[in-house]
């Protein structure tokens, strides 16, 4: 459970989970939403995978990330969004509210 709280404590990782709630996405598609480097995003994905909140699957040449949230974890994520936990960190310039970068062709591969 500790790894889950650690994963949910970061606004970027929460934003990743929020995006994955809509539909599974490739690593490239997710990275487009954050103004951070690929290695940083990979580190975030690793933390989420370690907490068993997301799952990576290979389809063709793409790696797609899917949600693996239990109802309790889903509710926890909802609460953190509802009560704006970590909003201070976002306001301080974290990636949570960052504007998406331009979508580059082939970035999903």
């Amino acid at each position: 459970m500790n790894s889950v709280f650690k994963a949910l404590a970061d606004p970027t990782r929460r934003k990743v989970l929020e995006l994955l709630r809509q539909r599974p996405m490739t690593a490239g598609e997710l990275s487009e939403h954050f103004p951070v480097s690929r290695p940083t995003m990979s580190a975030h994905f690793a933390v989420l995978r370690e907490a068993d909140l997301i799952e990576a699957n290979k389809i063709g040449t793409s790696i797609i990330y899917q949600l693996k949230l239990s109802v309790l974890e889903d509710a926890l994520l909802g609460f953190t969004q509802l009560f704006g936990i970590g909003a201070g960190a976002r306001a301080a310039g974290s990636a949570g509210t960052a504007q998406p970068r331009q979508i580059r062709k082939g970035a999903a591969k």
């Binding site: 539909r23 490739t26 389809i59 309790l72």
Partner: protein, 142 residues
């Protein structure tokens, strides 16, 4: 269990067996309590149904973490994720309602309403899966 069984399938089976053993253990303890005269028949039924409802709510809450075949496409992954989330939420809430009804409602009402809650959650889960599959087929066809 086969040695070749996928580790996650084995984990899921073990989890199911643990929940089953917990429910059976609780039922045996409650029966013992009844035989000792610590609780009456009505309390036995209520306590058993509350434990049963809470155990199944906990089990259904982890449905999205259970093993599923690797997706063949992004559409397939989207369909699987959405169906699992909806069925997990519907079943978890239904069994929480089951437990709450058996804890607080009059027994006659609890008997009927708890069945309706679980029946509705199954209908929602199946209905959603069928609707999403139809939508998926239409999008592929069109």
């Amino acid at each position: 269990m086969s040695e070749n069984l996928h580790p996650r399938i084995r984990k899921d089976i073990l989890l199911g067996l643990k929940f089953g053993m917990f429910i059976i253990g609780a039922a045996l303890l409650l029966t013992l309590a009844r035989r000792q005269g610590w609780i009456d028949a009505a309390q036995l039924v209520r306590a058993y149904n509350v434990i049963f409802g809470l155990a199944l709510a906990a089990y259904c809450s982890v449905i999205p973490k259970m093993y599923g075949p690797p997706p063949r496409s992004l559409h397939h992954a989207t369909l699987a994720q959405a169906s699992r989330r909806v069925s997990s939420w519907a079943m978890t809430l239904a069994f929480l309602v089951w437990a709450a009804l058996w804890a607080f409602a009059p027994q006659e009402l609890a008997k009927i309403a708890s069945m309706i809650a679980v029946g509705a959650s199954i209908a929602i889960s199946l209905g959603y899966a069928v609707w999403k599959s139809g939508e998926f087929r239409r999008s592929r066809g069109g």
